[in-house]
Amino acid sequence: MKGFVDPGSVSTESVQVLKPDGTLVPDHGYDIDLKEEDLREIYRVMILTRRIDQESTNLQRQGELGVYTPALGQEGAQVGAAYALEPQDWIFPSYRELGFAMLRGVQPSHILHLFRGTWHGGLFDYREYCIAPYAVPIATQTLHAVGFATGAKIDGTNTVAITCFGDGATSEGDFHEACNFAGVWKTPVVFFCQNNQYAISVPLAKQTAAPTIAVKALGYGFPGVRVDGNDVLASYVVTREAVRRARRGEGPTLIEAVTYRRGPHSTADDPSRYRTDEELNTWEALDPIARFEKYLETEGVLTAEFKEQCDAEGREAASKLRKEIVGAGPLDPNLLFEHVYAERTPNLEEQFAQFKRDQEGQ
């Protein structure tokens, strides 16, 4: 009918720089401003991410972690986006964003201790790495990113925030409120959605009827863009543009990185209940690391030596992680009472005394 805007008219294409076979898309339309060392650095972090991710799954299988949420298959989306940030830009992750943390140089065990149940927020220094603690309640962190970036804007510091979340997260009210606030306030924030096709067992088609996730941005008055999330260069350039827009004061962007969660949702999950091997195989063939590797090899950027170096670094980091995790004792339990408030309240003081007496009694 006249006047009805039609979702059928929305383009569902994704920005792509590298074809699945690792060759360049001729008219990709973006300036690839990466030097050889940049390309190698991106590659290095992708390898590191995969290795640590794998080791984390192993550690969980061996009972050293309570649970783990693998990033396998999403390294391209993550590392590409992370590489588009300045070090002072803050990241507000959910719980599957290992790639971002690896690029920033966070010590893997400092994150993994969260999954071990050592401390909820992990053990890294948020301010040093400009990364907020992992957020478990879905989509809640998107609002924090908007608030943070609004603070930066008020202060005129030119800092940008990026927040990471999944396709499922777009269903939560908080995601909506975050986008809407950011649109109205022209907040320097990037909404980085990894559409990995599933929210645990729920496939995208049951999550939203939207033709794309990117198009949701229109409803908040800012641009959205869909990108091939298994193409690290596409993820990089698209995020770079979004970050530039934010830094120029043009407000938020919503990025939908189309990718696939190849592992289980978490180590507690059995994906065979809800998806097929064929589907998995299709996506395995689209592996982001293999694609980038082919490109780098063709470009002559990736020597066998460097590859081996990256592998070695990965192995070493994994074994360091293992060493730091396996059998690690709990923190001093008295800490439980330490940071509930700036100072223990009289009530907590009392409970703490009792707690200590009980501990000693045992």
């Binding site: 071990r116 439980l336 009980d358 045992q362």
Partner: protein, 324 residues
């Protein structure tokens, strides 16, 4: 008699209700193909189809809010919150509508909705997966609040609440999902509106519910070795509360201990303690002593055992009321 787990009791209860009443629908995140993260809805979608076992988008306010709409239409939705800590986004729909719709409409639009919530700690989970949130609901007029502690009660109470004409928050003690009992299904005997006297005793009454029942049973067993006879009461329904059973016991023993997992300040155990004292101050030889969680966010898995009330803390409390 077949042996079932508490989780199976719940699963069978859903199946039983859905077979008997085609108005019963189950909805929530991952309740379909996956059968729920704790498999409570296992195989239900296969049996009843996608219209009656609905995988919802990831939005808890949406789940309860559309559940309310379904109930206004005439369905009986059983909504699953995936974990205790993810119930909070639905808090507005629960407090402002689910609890108040019957009253607002003078009974013309009652909401027969069940909100199932796996709750409490003890499974080594990450943050937000171990909350004891019953106090938020027991304080909210218009809701009923129920929590089973055994497989047979799990079945029977879930059937009861699905048939209940009022909205019910049904709290499932997740760390007890795997406890077993020999049960002949369907369980139909017994008045489960009343509290369950788990163990009779004359020296002290211990009130508890949900995941703490097992802990208290063990403590009572231990106390018995020292010649202390604890009467253990599993409340089952926190609202409506079976005050009669409670007061009869306290009158008899003159001493009461309440054991719950939630941070103690403002917990439901405060209500129990206050109420017991108000109703029968003179029977009490000692104050009601509460054993509960500390007033801190639920701790990381590695140290959660230090938080959860354990046998020793229960026994200390029993000692305290006996030697007051």
């Amino acid at each position: 008699m077949p042996t079932i787990t508490l989780a199976q009791g719940l699963n069978e209860a859903l199946r039983y209700c859905m077979q008997r009443d085609d108005r019963v629908v189950v909805m929530g995140e991952d309740v379909g193909k996956a059968g729920g993260v704790f498999r409570i809805t296992d195989k239900l979608q296969q049996e009843f189809g996608e219209q009656r076992v609905i995988d919802t988008p990831l939005a808890e306010s949406g789940i309860v809010g559309t559940g309310i709409g379904l109930a206004i239409y005439g369905f009986k939705p059983v909504c699953e919150m995936q974990f205790d800590g993810f119930t909070y986004p639905a808090f507005e729909q629960i407090t402002s509508h689910l609890a108040k719709y019957r009253s607002r409409t003078m009974g013309k639009l009652p909401l027969s909705v069940v909100v199932r919530i796996p709750y409490g700690g003890g499974i080594g989970a990450v943050e937000h997966h171990s909350e004891s949130l019953e106090a938020y609901f027991t304080h909210t007029a218009g809701l009923k609040v129920v929590t089973p502690s055994t497989p047979s009660d799990a079945f029977a109470l879930l059937v009861d609440v699905i048939e209940d004409p009022d909205p019910v928050i049904f709290l499932e003690p997740k760390r007890r999902y795997w406890i077993r009992e020999d049960v002949e299904l369907p369980v139909t005997n017994g008045d489960r509106r009343k509290a369950r006297i788990v163990r009779e005793g004359t020296d002290v009454t211990i009130l508890t519910y949900g995941p703490s029942v097992r802990t208290v049973e063990d403590a009572a067993e231990e106390a018995a070795k020292d010649g202390v006879a604890c009467e253990v009461i599993d409340l089952r329904w926190l609202n409506p509360l079976d005050l009669e059973t409670i007061m009869t016991s306290v009158k008899k023993t003159g001493r009461a201990v309440v054991v719950t997992e939630a941070p103690i300040t403002g917990s439901f155990s405060a209500e129990l303690a206050a109420r017991i004292a108000e109703d029968d101050f003179l029977s009490l030889h000692a104050p009601v002593i509460r054993v509960g969680g500390y007033d801190i966010p639920y701790p990381p898995a590695k140290v959660e055992d230090l938080y959860l009330p354990d046998l020793d803390r229960v026994l200390d409390a029993v000692d305290a009321v006996l030697n007051y």
